[in-house]
Symmetry: D2
Subunit: 467 residues, 4 copies
């Protein structure tokens, strides 16, 4: 945020110089934790913004000074700053009650409509205006997105701040409407400053070096991101795609910097192997659905040979689910033969032996006996996890699975040893799954999953579950 | 709109091809006036959009089809289309009443806050969602701006549509927040397509030809406009500036294509000689204030020699005010000596003679006697109009005057024969006024005008009023 | 050139300020016709440039001052300026003779090669260096192109300047190598400043207004131009293309602003209806060949439905050729029956009657009798002109014909009343011709035309010649 | 070059598809070392290019195939390829002799001029045409630059290739005229692909990591490079600048990634701490002079506070010169007192002790006694080296010194321990020098150095020499 701070400083001085005398606009500099006796200053400045004192341009200049001050506060100071917004710039209950009374007393349709609007207005808290005014800052949108990231963290144990967070979310939902977003393909010719952020924000298969990044931008790769016009250097969400022949079954190969390049013109399949949200402050505002479909559209147009669109996805919740099932002592997990083989392979006896013990030895994948004993039961259990584990009734428990099924994809193939990184081994015993986006079925799949939680899956996966 | 229609067509087919089967998304083609028996189809499509049937991407595709259909309707058809939005997608009164009851029954602060949000949500009519979905169209923002232009016209005598218009205005206020706007300087190197629109939208001194336009983009001129990132080819508002020495006192000279070019580096004054709003659909959403101040900032930085920022402005309401005053027989308008001189100059006697008669002879400016008889009283009356004529208590009656005074300018100089075009002669007997933007006083001027209607004017203008 | 002059001024002052003391670099201001007693100053400044006095950067600054001075001279002054270049900065004959002697005395191969280079260097006149130094001016390349335009005009009756013109041509040939040129599509979104130049430079069917221009940039049109990276606002050559169904047979239709738009996606034919060179100073440096083939390539890629590429071309030399043949009394031009019909139609008798008399009545195209009497013989004569009239043995006499045949096109169809503008009527009795670019035959056609003047023509045209 | 190869392939197929039948244009694929029996094919293809067979566009297509073939040859093959150019496409001696005879026989001035041109033409070898034709390749200019890099290497021991190298150099001198070059500032927002090349080409202080590079693009740094319009991704030469207060005396500080950032607005000095040529194939074609002066101009304009422009430069030839002087037993190098101190510090006796012995212990800089014994004599000797060591009479022996003195800089300050990297210690015993660019003196300094080798130096440096 140091950069932002710098820009902000220069900016507020610009507005100052341009249009106004400055004496009353600048906040005196505040202590980092915003002690009790400085709170009034902040509150007064906020009021002056809302009163549009000196005109709208001056009000924006005051908002800039406030934004600037906020960025220099520490955690305690920021919390106090936001609490002022929560407490002193909420809706006015008396006005709301009056508006309700008026609304209920309306006699004609036209009156009703007018008073409905008046009631709606009375319910919009004054702080909304101030939040909007921050948009005139340079990088004001980024400021607000980061402000919400602060609010999300703080409001976990501060219920007063929750409503400010939700007000800000409403504002961001409106401003980040998908119609405003710009799809850009990033390449090795993109600005280093943006690529650096991709490396920082990648959340699925972390980017280890500039060479690793360059490999993901090679001739047989594509990287697409959504940007907002007022945050041109900040990706919102991005997806990494490999152009291959046939559906990839392991990610090691895709990340191998030494692997030979394919000719993208002749590839028949696009594999979406990583999708990452980049802005914590946009949590709960979803673009992934649009991103995937726009990218499918762009690739279809550019590379008519591509016939299949699929993911190679992690199964982040499997191991946790399995641990819980084992802890509960669920006897349906393994059959006796498997249990014996696992005990034997783990070289341990009794309760401590078996599946769990083996999985805890990180080296099982290189031990042929352990490997053979694990493969069948693990794939079955994973298929069972994917197809049966639910939350809130109809949603799959696995969040990645829920995302793709909501988008209308189907579960296509479970891949043994698809991700042998330590993260992959830990989360899902090294397994990965392909979700297939079949264009003609997307809407139907979406609808049946959305309405009654029906999961569309291939016969491989269904077969695995049965064992 | 033909272009928009074309783009829209190609676009909706793109979404169709990309992501979905299409059978149920396309509206059957509608009759131009949307007869009774086709209304249900439109309503169902709207419902499908709001139900997000088939997923958000499909919903947007359906909204595209609706937008497309709208553009092909005639006036009657469009009105019916919008009435569906007004009547069938309004808030649900029962739900609102329930939310009110819940809100009023809240017991804890936290409950209160939660239910306040719920109440606010219940007051947001479903049509808002549909309006937002149009944003995913290509040129979707322009579509909405033009939709509001339609609504403004239709709702004059159709009160059911007024609330739709106001919903849309709320949306546009949020999306056209000044922080999103981009200030661009337009030059003779700008796209012809954009310059063509400048010529079309210019509302003060109409642009007669490409040469006239080119003259307004010459080396000693500047033309700045605000653009929205999603309407990159459509100026929202623009201002034309002449770089001169001393404050210009007539617009003929500025518009003279043969006038010699000045060196902008040595000019000491920037004259804002034309400000035009370009989008009817953004009526009531004001950017002029910001535009002027941003332009002042940009010019100050680029041309440090510029010391004065002033307008050369029309006085559009003077003649109408004078006519009314004359009709009322206001005896304070002229003194006896003036009255005699005017009668003499008009060559007419009695009631018909004098001021009015003279003004109606369009040629008075070339008749020395008439000219001399008119100059003094007209300038006095105009100063009186500017300083005294009010509406709503504190606002000046003249709209241009109100705009600049609100921005913190002061009335600086009244110019005799400042605009001798037929429009200028008719509106303000050929007079123009300079408003001066003195940077250090802007805020103070704004504040005193805003708070108690105090007009800051130069001694020339005050002196003129006294006669 | 006023703009160029202005830029030049500001630029030379920049170099001055940056890097050097200035006293000796600036030329004192010169009289417009460069009288005898100022010539020494110019010569000295040129010498200082060539001596690289004060370093290369200073030399370029001096060249800027010279360029600047040149632009302010009148015709006489410019001629004198260029004569200095011709006379005082030519090769040094003594040095050339010495280099010849050395070359001829070389004993080893290596020596020979070294001295060959030395001889070549001795033959490069010093003025070449100065010409190159002008390239560091802003718009230096445009300066040189315009300088050559001056030289071409002046050297017609001033043989001393011819060699300067040829030196400059050699330089421009190297710098305007086709590999440096950039193909750009111009649209209504291109800068007005560039479109204005298109209108100015169009040489075949003059552009009458901005609406005419806009029509040539409509959805079913394409306009492509070559640009040089150092003359980004100056088209070098451009071609106008109409996307149609079937081969157009008259240009009136193409230029009709009211004609309905076609869907470019379904057009099967691209008609090149106007090709214009834009820079007089690049005469004799040919790009048209490359332009057409690059445009064919671009259109093929963008619009796969386009199957035919053809021109609709004027026949600028026909009338002049016919006049000459008539003047010579060539008795093979008409047969007796035709002669009678023409005499009758012209209403005149004897020598003055007939073809010539009719053609001179500009209104013949609207007189059914005249029209009928003229059509057959004129089309036959035009076919004969196209197929038989030659110069330099193998080249067709018609320059447009020579251009397209050299490029490998074939004569496809002669169109009666293809261009009824006064220019078209005058040049070619209203006829136009289509040249067809058949991709598989281009090279073969080129080769046979180039080698032995063989013209490839359709049976229509061959048939017409026979009558 | 793999990328280039790929582009080339796709390109030659494009030309093929567009304009011609292809059978005769493609070379059959060649063996990597171009054996005797394949040479005729290459020679014939070259001839076809020069005969412009099938037209200029076809010729360029053939040249593309040749370029393509060249890139796939190994070292031997390439040498043979170039020997064909050297031997079979040289000037025709008989024609040259004839042109000489004609030239010498000219009787009039006009004849003389015509025949001079004819003679010049006869001296231009046919291979020049082919070299130019490569310019129509994609990245054709880069191809030629790399071709010259090959030629420079090969012609060291192959005198037949030297003339081809010189022909190509002439072509490149014309095409890389400084007027064509574009100055660009590179920042952390520049394309990663270009920044990667900066890291690769940096020749003075090597770039160790992306963080090192990012530090050189920080807020208080500037990096400027020249680019050619046809090699937009390839820097030709670049300079790294630090904005500081006072003249930097060591490079460690500048390269320290942890050093605090300065405010560029308040810096008073620009330090050019690294200048690197990036293209081997442009050896002998100098831009550094222009680069420095353009950057001085750009910085002056952008940051008016910058008053001093200086370098912090290596002294690459000092150690080699010193070694030689020591080897010769030059007794004037040290005085007896120094000699004693050095012997003592080195702990060695007799001939082996002293200066050389100490310098060879890489750790002397950390040994206080050694350090103190070395400082005074080394600085004196270095000043002597800089001021007295010459080659070719008037040039300083040190190449960096020659470059800056030629540009008009003066020697300002010698800095002890200015570069303690192992390269710095080895080349110049850790010393660095500042050259000062004083704008008013540049031209004068240049002139006196150029004309009679006079070195302008500060009193510090002159004083050091005296000891």
């Amino acid at each position: 945020m140091a950069d932002l701070l710098k820009k902000l400083k220069s900016w507020s001085s610009v507005w100052r110089d341009i249009a106004t005398t400055t004496s009353d606009k600048e906040l005196p500099s505040l202590s980092a934790d915003l002690p009790e006796d400085e709170i009034a200053q902040v509150r007064d400045q906020m009021k002056a913004c809302l009163d549009i004192k000196g005109g709208e341009v001056s009000a924006r200049s005051r908002a800039a000074a406030l934004g600037h001050a906020y960025l220099e506060l520490n955690k305690t100071g920021r919390q106090r700053f936001l609490e002022i917004l929560a407490d002193d710039f909420a809706t006015d209950n008396a006005k709301v009650e009056q508006a309700i009374a008026d609304f209920q007393a309306a006699e004609t349709d036209e009156e009703k409509r007018e008073r409905e609007i008046a009631l709606r207005r009375s319910l919009e808290p004054p702080r909304m205006t101030l939040l909007r005014q921050f948009n005139a800052l340079p990088d004001g949108v980024k400021f607000l997105v980061d402000l919400r990231a602060d609010l999300l963290k703080m409001s976990r144990d501060n219920s007063r701040l929750k409503i400010v967070e939700r007000d800000l979310k409403d504002l961001l939902i409106s401003w980040f409407d998908v119609g405003f977003l710009e799809l850009r393909q990033l390449t090795w010719h993109s600005p280093a400053a943006i690529l650096e952020k991709i490396a920082e924000y990648e959340a699925v298969h972390s980017i280890k070096s500039w060479n690793d990044l360059k490999n993901r931008l090679a001739r047989d790769r594509r990287l697409f991101a959504f940007f907002h016009p007022r945050m041109p250097d900040e990706p919102l969400i991005f997806v990494e795609v490999a152009l291959v022949n046939g559906m990839s079954d392991n990610v090691q190969e895709l990340l191998d910097e030494e692997a030979p390049l394919l000719n993208p013109e002749t590839a028949d399949t696009a594999i979406f192997y990583s999708i990452s949200n980049a802005q914590t402050g946009l949590a709960g505002i979803s673009f992934g659905n649009f991103l995937i479909k726009k990218v499918v559209g762009a690739l279809s147009k550019d590379l008519p040979n591509i016939k299949n669109f699929a993911t190679l996805s992690p199964i982040p919740g499997f191991q946790a689910w399995l641990d819980q099932a084992l802890a509960k002592g669920d006897s349906t997990l393994l059959n006796p033969k498997e249990r014996d083989a696992l005990k034997k392979a783990s070289g341990q006896k009794g309760a401590k032996g078996g599946l769990k013990a083996l999985l805890e030895t990180s080296a099982w994948k290189n031990d042929p006996e352990a490997h053979d004993a694990l493969k069948e039961p693990l794939m079955r259990l994973c298929a069972r996890y994917l197809l049966e584990a639910k939350r809130k009734g109809t949603r799959t428990l696995d969040p990645v699975s829920h995302f793709h099924l909501s988008n209308g994809a189907r579960m296509e193939r479970l891949n043994w040893l698809g991700d042998t990184s330590s993260k992959g081994m830990k989360q899902s015993a090294g397994m990965m799954i392909n979700y297939l986006y079949k264009l003609n079925d997307i809407e139907k799949n979406h609808e049946s999953y959305q309405t009654n939680g029906k999961i569309v899956a291939s016969s491989q996966i269904k077969g695995l579950r049965k064992g």
